[in-house]
């Protein structure tokens, strides 16, 4: 090596090297090699071939043909693709061969955790419907349902413990639920729990979300349960969703028990004196009773009281739960000779204990004497709490000694919260109080079957099938009702979740799955499927079982394909009379609408697949293609849709999706009676139909929608309903032709013609066509193709051609629709928009800010009152759904995060202003004054749908009709 060319560090410093030269050199060398090779070969001829990869012996191999390296095929064998790229097309961060990514969206146990009971025992209990309780835990947001279930899980699963200061949230299996800190899906948990006598019961508990947006999940859970435990935060009391749940449970005919949770807050947070705490608790019970009497029709039964045993008190954070009975039992356990049941009866209400006479009396002995509840329950509780919190070292050991609770030295040193938890846990033991309450007040599947089946089954019960269900008979023909679908961990498949009402469901069995549209007449919506595995679901793990007898909940594999929302699963053969269970009836509606579109149009099929899956996953979600071609997703609120979009983007389709600004559904209605009789002739001039439109009576639209009244009723019953409830005259009440746009649509078509003027038989012969035209018209109103609502169309006159040829559907249907439109347009048409009911909780100093925020969004306050026993105010208000987007964020911004709100769809309300007023100019990007809103909404909806800017009225009016209009000068605003 020439040392001059290198510095002392070994770096080259000599003249620049020409790489080309080097190549040339190489080439030269190659050529030399060739020559040598050939020479060598010549020499070796006949000798041993020393190297296998030597090219053919005598050939002259050109440089470019010479092979230096083996090809990929030689190295790796056939079917290996070799990709040679000149430059990097892939960033370094991206691995060349990507690892297989396993999709996982739920937390699941890897294997079955150990439990205090034997799984075999659990499975055996499933055969005893009397020992089963199907209960839904529901309540307002953050009233402690999930953490209550956590304590139940902790009691039965020795290995599952919550981390310090962090909730376990065992039933929030989805990662999104954990991240958001609220339940999104209702989650079933099956546990074996002992009552206070030590008898074990199989508890099927459904933990439901408390947020009002997810009311649909609760509805699905209600359908499978026989009773509910309504959770109420002791500090907050009855809130918006509590009230709705009471109403809903009454409608669903479920047994109602309540659990007043978080009673620790009364002591530690609100620091109420025991007497005030008692008043507060009593106030909650009274409020619930008030709601119960408000919503239940029957006088009997519906009442909750600690004395009846259907109220329990709990603090899930500190692991305590008791009823009067279970607390009395604590006394009975350490004091001989107490009849705890009798004692329990004296622990609530205005009952006082006279220590001298050792008797209970209704009157206080002295002005400062305490009610028995305070004396025997609250004061001991306060004592434990205050001593653990305040005086761990001095008085606590003595007290604990007295209570028979022993703490080790280490345990005494832990922090206050865990210590309190430990003490309560040791003192109160398992939640037998809750078990007692449910066992006593929630019917077992056998007893509950009657109410359940009668309420949900559409078919006839006077047959073997009905008997099987009513008696919860495991040997009867199979009937299983599924209301929810849970997606697997990877979001590829779904498992149906349901309740076996009769018969026994076995793994691997063939079943017939009946969809929501199945009827005996139209059996299209039914499929034969083979059941895969069956599980009993315990939130994060599943216990596989081979058969599930009547009365139990079950998670079913393999039947998800034909199920959209709910389904009825029955035997594949024989049970021809099997009918379906009613589809779910929700207590809210999907009014928020977003339009979605894949960023890359070619991914549309993927998105559609994703849409189908989210549709299965969310009970109340509606996904559809609108006439404008937009794929819209309808949900109950912003949070709901946010979750839907998360699932759609991340779980089910993994593509980029564009979302349009949220809008709401609208309706079209009228506010007056048509200003003149509207008529139209059929194209052949042989028929003429005259109608007018007028608004429906208040409440009637809701009655039709809630199926209080059915069009399928016979004339007499239908007539009676309208005569008595809405004061219709006999003639009109008996001549109701149809509801529209469908059998539960909020519009009515009435035949108001007189037999003396109109040939009724002729009219009857075209009834179907007119009804079709009416339903077609009401489905898409003339203003902006949104459904018509709350309108009664009266046929006043009809000239119908005598020849059947001249009154075919082709003549009548489009004409009937035109008359519907013209009558509608003559009756002062208006738009309707959905309104939200909002409940805001805020401290007193934020109340004015809440008012401001509401006022800016066209909202108005209906009630504003302090929550008793707390520094917070509750503000109840209405706000248009279209203006509610971002309301929550806005509210928090204006109150520094101190206010909290929940909003839920409440009613439809007319948008101010005339949508057809052409004098209104809609300027872009400017907020419109109130009277312009209707016009703005209409124009913008029409634009979005690709309709012409204005309603062209002459499409719907005949020339003679227009002349008539001109005569009467009613056409002020209307464009002709």
């Amino acid at each position: 090596m020439d040392t001059d060319l290198y510095d002392e560090f070994g770096n080259y410093i000599g003249p620049e090297l020409d790489s080309d030269d080097e190549d040339d050199l190489d080439e030269l060398r190659d050529v030399e090699d060739h020559v040598q090779d050939e020479a060598g070969d010549d020499d070796d001829e006949g000798g041993e071939g020393d190297a296998e990869d030597e090219p053919g012996t005598m050939e002259v191999v050109l440089h470019e043909d010479k092979k230096y390296y083996p090809t990929a095929e030689e190295v790796y064998g056939p079917e290996v693709e070799t990709v040679v790229q000149e430059e990097d097309t892939q960033p370094l961060t991206e691995p060349i061969i990507k690892p297989i990514r396993r999709k996982k969206f739920r937390m699941m146990e890897q294997e079955l955790p150990s439990t205090v009971y034997d799984m075999e025992y659990l499975a055996d209990l499933m055969d005893n419907p009397e020992l089963i309780r199907n209960v839904t835990l529901c309540g307002h947001l953050h009233h402690g349902k999930s953490s209550f279930v956590d304590t139940l899980v902790e009691q039965t699963h020795p290995e599952i413990r919550k981390h310090l200061e962090r909730d376990l949230r065992y039933t929030d299996t989805l990662f999104t639920e954990q991240e958001r800190g609220l339940s999104i899906k209702s989650t079933p948990v099956t546990l074996v729990l002992p009552d206070s006598k030590g008898k074990s019961f199989l508890f099927n508990v459904m933990d439901t979300p408390g947020h009002v947006n997810y009311s649909d999940e609760v509805t699905a859970a209600f359908r499978l349960s026989d009773g509910i435990v309504l959770f109420i935060d002791a500090a907050e009391g009855v809130m918006l969703n509590t009230e709705r749940l009471v109403k809903h449970a009454v409608q669903e005919r479920l047994a109602i028990t309540i659990c007043i949770n978080k009673i620790d807050r009364l002591m530690l947070e609100l620091k109420l004196p025991p007497t005030d705490a008692y008043y507060k608790l009593r106030h909650i019970v009274d409020e619930v009773n008030g709601l119960l009497s408000l919503y239940s029709d029957s006088e009997v039964g519906m009442m909750v009281s600690p004395l009846l045993g259907n109220v329990c008190f709990a603090s899930s954070q500190y692991g305590l739960c008791f009823t009067l009975g279970s607390f009395a039992k604590l006394y009975a356990d350490c004091h001989e000779g107490i009849n705890f049941q009798e004692f329990a009866k004296r622990l609530w209400g205005d009952i006082y204990f006279n220590a001298k006479t050792r008797k209970f009396s209704k009157k206080p002995l002295a002005s400062n004497s305490q009610r028995s509840f305070v004396e025997f329950i609250l004061e001991p509780l306060y004592k434990i709490f205050s001593q653990v919190v305040g005086d761990v070292d001095v008085t606590l050991p003595a007290t604990l000694e007295e209570l028979g609770v022993h703490l080790t030295k280490e345990e005494q040193k832990i922090n206050i919260r865990p210590l309190l938890r430990l003490v309560c846990r040791r003192f109160f033991g398992d939640f037998t109080g809750l078990v007692d309450m449910c066992v006593q007040h929630v019917p077992s599947p056998v007893i509950g079957a009657q109410a359940k089946v009668q309420h949900t089954y559409t078919g006839n019960l006077d047959n073997a099938l009905g008997d099987g269900m009513l008696f919860c008979d495991p040997d009867a023909p199979l009937m299983c009702h599924s209301t929810k679908m849970y997606s697997t961990d990877d979001g590829v498949q779904f498992h149906a979740f349901g309740r076996v009402l009769s018969g026994t469901l076995a793994a691997g069995q063939d079943v017939r799955v009946l969809g929501e549209n199945y009827t005996l007449e139209d059996d299209e919506d039914s499929r034969i499927c083979t059941v895969g595995r069956l599980w009993v679901s315990v939130a994060r793990y599943q216990v596989e079982v081979s058969r599930v007898p009547a009365g139990n909940w079950v998670l079913i594999e393999g039947v998800d394909q034909p199920i959209v929302k709910t389904a009825t699963i029955t035997d594949p053969s024989g049970s021809d009379e099997a009918q379906i269970f009613r589809p779910l009836k929700f207590n809210t509606a999907s009014v928020i609408k977003i339009a979605v579109e894949p960023v890359n149009p070619s991914e549309l099929p993927k998105m559609l697949d994703g849409l189908r899956k989210v549709n299965k996953s969310y009970p109340l979600l509606t996904t559809k293609v609108e006439e404008s071609g937009e794929h819209v997703v309808l949900g109950t609120g912003e949070l709901y849709l946010d979750c839907v979009m998360h699932d759609l983007r991340k779980m089910y389709s993994e593509i980029d999706i564009k979302v349009a600004d949220p809008v709401v559904s609208f309706c079209e209605t009228v506010v007056e009676t048509s200003s003149l009789k509207c008529f139209a002739e059929t194209p052949n001039k042989k028929n003429k139909i005259t109608m007018i439109a007028e608004p429906l009576e208040k409440g009637l639209a809701e009655d039709i929608e809630n199926e209080v009244v059915h069009i399928t009723w016979n004339r007499k019953k239908l007539g009676e309903f309208f005569q008595t409830k809405y004061d219709w005259d006999l003639l009109a009440a008996r001549s109701i032709w149809a509801f529209g746009p469908d059998s539960t649509g909020p519009n009515i078509l009435v035949d108001d013609t007189l037999p003396s003027e109109v040939d009724k038989t002729l009219l009857g012969s075209v009834k179907d066509s007119i009804v079709q035209g009416f339903q077609w018209g009401t489905r898409e109103g003339p203003l902006c193709d949104e459904p018509i609502r709350n309108v009664k169309f009266k046929i006043l006159d009809a000239v119908i051609a005598g020849e059947p040829l001249h009154r075919g559907g082709g003549q009548i249907i489009p004409t009937a629709r035109r008359v519907v439109y013209s009558a509608f347009l003559m009756a002062t048409p208006r738009l309707m928009e959905p309104y939200y009911f909002v409940e805001v909780q805020a401290p007193a100093d934020c109340v004015s800010a809440v008012y401001t925020v509401l006022a800016r969004r066209r909202g108005h306050v209906t009630q504003d009152a302090p929550i008793p026993g707390s520094p917070l105010y509750t503000i109840k208000a209405f706000i248009p759904a279209i203006d509610s987007f971002g309301f929550e964020t806005d509210l928090r911004t204006h109150t520094q995060g101190q206010a909290f709100c929940l909003s839920v769809f409440h009613h439809w309300q007319i948008v101010p202003g005339d949508p057809l007023d052409k004098s209104i100019m809609i300027r872009p990007l400017e907020p419109q004054p109130a009277p312009h809103l209707a016009r703005e909404f209409m124009v913008k909806t029409r634009r979005r749908k690709g309709l012409s800017e204005d309603v062209s009225i002459n499409k719907f009016f005949d020339d003679p009709m227009l002349l008539e209009l001109a005569k009467q000068d009613v056409m002020f605003n209307y464009p002709i």
Partner: protein, 595 residues
Amino acid sequence: MAVGMSSGAEEALRREVNRPDPCTTSDLLPERYEIQRTADFIRRHRLHRVVLQFPDELLPDAAPVARLLREATGLRPLILADTSYGSCCVDEVSAEHANADGLVHYGHACLSPTRRLPVLYVFARRKLDVQRCVAAFHHLYPMRNTRVLLLCDLKYAHAIGTLADVLQTEYPGLRIAAIVDEMGTAGEEPERSSSQCCIQRAEEKEENCHRERIASEIIRGGRGENAVCEDAQVCKDESLKKGVMEGNWEVQGKDSLGGWEKETSNSACMEFDEKQKEKEKTVKHVRHVDDNTVVTWCGRQFILESGCSLSDYSVFYVGPASLALTNVMVSWHSCAFATFDPEGPECDGDVGGRHEDGVERACILRRRRYLVERVRDAHIIGIILGTLGMVGYRDTVARMREVAERAGKRHYTFAVGKLNPAKLANFPEIDVFVLVACPESSLILHLSEFYRPIVTPYEMEVACNPARCWLGDLITDFRELLPGGTKFVPLAERESEEVQEADVSLLSGCVRAPPPQPFTTTTNSTAIASRNQNLQVALADDHSAASFLVTRSWRGLEQKVGETPLGCVKEGRRGIAIGYEGEGVERTGEAQDQK
């Protein structure tokens, strides 16, 4: 316009057609309606009975034009108004009813190839203010290197050459969509003849075929099932064709417009090889010749710069908003569009051209998505014949039937003439109609007036052929869908019955019923049925068509037995409604003339 099937005759007379253009003054007539060229056409083809097909808006000029033609040729032409289908289509069937041997089509045309008669298109030209148009062009495309495709409404087609000459020098990327569905008959005309005709008579092919400039044009079936301007491979002689075509394209490709003028003002006639008929039923809208992409669309043809696709071009359309424009906009949904309406209001400073923002187009395309879903949900499909002349319509109908059958939908075929809501509402049990019609009339935009939606064959395929992946485009020309067409996709194999996925309807949210198994008759049923009181054995189940028909009010003509007085049997008229035997066709002709 909308009249049902059972409307009276007086209704048709009283009906007001769309506001007609004011009559053309007589001195303008010969030029506007190209009387001379028409006369040449008639003479060349030795036609004896010529039908003049007028759209409603040109009807006021019909009589003068007919008179002028009679003066020019001595023939007595028939006027054909109230076309059976869209007025843009050549109504061959009506013409044949009148025993015509040639047809002159006036006004806007969709240039869809037809099959039988020699046809001459006269577009009723309008004056084009070239200066204004060029100004608008400059305004819209300030960048000189923009790739622009120049399209024009047919009535301005005569001026497109002039326009092209002006613009071509400035915009090297400009491409002109030449009207090819015709052969210039007026080679000596100073301006480019737009309204050229394409004709085919077997006798003439010899003299014409060897003309050296076969042109980028036309060819219209003289005889036999053909047409096909699209496919340049129409020549009888394979080699001749090739040479001619390639030569031609070369010229066009190299100096895009240098040779253009010569070529377009040219006529070419040729006859078809029987063997090629099959091929030519379908269209190849995009071909590749010598690296150049040749696009043919609705009677217009142009060559794209090599290496470019259609989506690289913006389209400049000369003409008012019309169905034709909408059609091209949705067909080329990836192109940017600008329009210039020569008859639009002239504002100060505003040259009149404007960029289309595509909102409307996006709306139209999106709406089709909804229609596709409707088709998917439909159980019964009605196939409507919207043409009886266009090449390939039978195959399309056959294919639609096959597609429907594969998807397990029942289908019926209807021929109802011009569509209107009343006619179609006579069939309320049909869920969706598929309209087999020319590209322009198959796009029905005011669907909300119809009781049931009407879709194009393409949408039908998208909905029912799982092998077809839909990317939000729209193909209005059904010939592209047929085997051999550019957009042809074979039907997917029937899925095995086991793995049929349940499909959720996006309209109702319900599970769609699986396609029923191919219908098998179970005739050998041995079940005993009880006889009812009327001694009928209950045969039909609830869903049979028969039971449905029983519930319908219209059960055909009423017999009224006993009510109508008896009479002797007389021999009635024979023939079809448009011209009974013995009624005399001449009389009809006279009537027309007098009118």
